[in-house]
Symmetry: C3
Subunit: 325 residues, 3 copies
């Protein structure tokens, strides 16, 4: 990582226009509230204007329309948040674990590790696993046999890749008979997988996570799911078996996608929404029961279970009104 940079040097690398002193030197990024002198922050929304006025940062990244809101040295650019992401990458590594295999990790002799791969303490890498160049597995990741990870994949602690899918048939006595899960998991390049997330191996074919997908913590991906490239899913989301999610989708936290559904590309699911049928058109979809103070909720929610009755009574009134009208 480079040491301090001037705003001029930053703009030369990342673009944008410097307003104010281009020799201003910064050595790290910081938040509006807690940035110290020598740090550079960013301003993305007018609702943080009061915080901008009080920041101790030495410089700010902001959009042209906000340029006049501060007298601090600043970098003006069209997409301040994206700019800031790249700027932070100048000062900070994307992963913080040294390359190589930690001595406490258990890597099967039949696994293939690419160049500069980092395998953290306590990881367990099964037979015939392949992991692409520059990937980083933080401590205590398990990859079951016959799964593959692309290049530059980041996997956080506690994630489990390739455990058996939940495949069961019922016998004559209603006992469950396990269906061996003989597919694998294929994970593309530039995927990130959060802590304690689980991705099941396929029943027969593979479970597929395409390139650029970002999965937050504690996500559950069932067997034979496909997640299209550059889709992002927030924490605690769950995807049931054989769901097929398109590219460039976003799935909100704790959302649930039922099995055997198809979501088109560019579909956006709000947090905590349950998707129970396929979605063929791009757009934003939501289904959350609104919260209320407990007493109001009790009153209103009882009526949800009587909606069919209310609708029928309304219909009766309409009919009478029509007759008499």
């Amino acid at each position: 990582m480079p040491g301090p940079l001037t705003l001029g040097q930053i703009a030369a690398r990342l673009g944008g226009r410097v307003a104010g002193d281009p020799t201003t030197t910064v050595r790290q990024v910081g938040s509006l509230e807690q940035a110290l002198a020598g740090e550079i922050t960013f301003f993305s929304s007018p609702r943080y204007q009061a915080k901008l006025a009080q920041t101790h940062a030495s410089a700010v990244v902001l959009a042209p329309e906000s340029e006049a809101l501060t007298a601090l040295p600043r970098i003006v650019c069209d997409a301040p948040y994206l700019y800031f992401a790249r700027l932070s990458q100048l000062f900070n590594p994307l992963t913080v674990q040294p390359e190589g295999v930690h001595p406490s990790a258990v890597v099967s002799p039949g696994a293939r590790l690419g160049a500069r791969v980092s395998i953290g303490a306590g990881c367990v890498i099964g037979d015939e696993v392949s992991i692409g160049d520059d990937s980083c597995l933080y401590p205590r990741v398990v990859v079951y046999a016959k799964c593959s990870l692309g290049k530059r994949v980041i996997v956080h602690s506690g994630a489990v890749i390739g455990a058996d899918g939940f495949g069961l048939a019922q016998d004559e006595a209603s006992r469950w008979v396990k269906i061996p899960q003989i597919g694998g998991v294929r994970i593309g390049d530039d995927v990130e997988i959060g802590a304690n997330t689980t991705i099941d191996r396929g029943a027969m074919d593979d479970t597929i996570i395409e390139e650029g997908v970002k999965l937050d913590n504690q996500i559950q991906i069932g067997h034979n799911v496909r997640i299209g490239a550059h889709t992002a899913m927030a924490g605690c989301a769950g995807v049931a078996g054989s769901a097929d999610i398109g590219r460039h989708c976003t799935i909100g936290g704790a959302a649930v996608i039922l099995g055997h559904l198809t979501l088109a590309d560019h579909v956006h699911i709000s947090a905590a929404t349950v998707i129970s049928r396929s979605i063929r058109r791009p757009g934003t979809y939501t289904g959350v029961f609104p919260f209320d103070d407990h007493e109001s909720w009790t009153r209103n929610t009882a009526l949800v279970r009587r909606l069919a009755d209310l609708a029928e009574r309304l219909r009766v009134l309409e009919r009478k009104e029509k007759k008499s009208g």
Copy 2:
């Protein structure tokens, strides 16, 4: 595992009737879409008829009513999915980890392991734990002290059995006082537990998972829960403390069962449904807020919070209509 088998040999072992050449040889199972020559697939639903027509499999398992849909060699049987499960077990082991204790596992000297038990890398088995014959714990499972697992139990990576239940009392200053959790966890024979699932030890008595129960990934079972035999729960479901779930139930993914409830045998809870009171009768129960495009949802959901008002206005109209009618 056996090598290739003819359809005739398979039918001799598992039953069913061969239609077409009984000397057809298969060596593995495969999906309709991706099976190769030499593999046997299954056909379970008319909606996959186009896939059946295009499959490269060498043989198919199907029901009598579908027998005429293909000219491929086939095994005709009443429950093709169950048949296929057993067929797949002929070609594939139920667990893929060699027996014995991996050198990196930490097994307390006070633990008792049955015959042919397999303990994967990084597992931690506490004191006075007992694990029955032929059980398989995949890497990085933790079993706290004084828990017992039956025979043929499969536990996937990251599962935690016997952590403290969430037992707290509040003191005079509204601080939490921990209640020691001195019960254990008792798990019956033929139970399977998914990756990163957690099953808490009891507060005083034990938490009980009866024989044949199947738990998918990332399920949370609170202290003193009892799950009746042959019940299956899909991923991300949660069961709060002291709930008593019957036998042969199915609990959908991400469903939530609140504490101190009783569910009768043969109760089926749909995915993402919250069960807030006991259910005494077998049946299927559902409670999911329907998703919609975001704008429609916004419009309709606002009215949910005004349902009591709508119902009152309807009542007023009905009263007036009655008077005037």
Copy 3:
């Protein structure tokens, strides 16, 4: 831990009044149903009166209004459940793992461990981590670099503290650009963290869990969240990034708190409720779609999506009625 105690000795230590023979000796706590002779149980609710009549316990802790319900030797006190928690602590340790670092744990040389800290098998403690006196980490906990835990903190197996927050910007081609997560996690004294719970490090500033907070299993805490002192969250709850939760709150199981919200002190969120806007006033808040038998649900839920239409039809009727009335 002490051996057997008489009721008189217990009352001398913990308060309360003994009714019946104060020399009655007990050596452990037990439930109403399963307590054996020599054990002491507690009675907290009239609905367990039948169980009280049948208990084999040698003594009971109960409130003054229940004193007459049993002839057993008893300790009468105002808050029996709290009393019982403290009583159980007399007989049972709060944590059951010996102090010291298990040889299979990987503790960075740059980590600082307080006095009497217990680090279980397979734990991984990163660089510049500090852990306060008397804290106990059960097996397979990961603490990423630069996180701090206070005194008497208990962390259960599989928990991951300090993995990267989910910080992403989108580039011109709608690919995700990772924002380095350079904040830490600060955890106060007397916090307990459940199995497989994940607490992300901050994007720039720290994620903060204040003293006395109790987190159950499989909870997800996003980056830059603050959880106020003495708040308790039940299993499977999720808190999205930058949410600010007050002191002395309770968050029910599987509840979801969206990001960038503020919850006042003493707010209580019911299980499985989704909080989508800030709550400024203490109170109890709920938002759960009521479950029903599947057929009723199907009928009623279809109408939820037509509520705006129903409301409009009601309005039309009201208008007509007014005109004609």
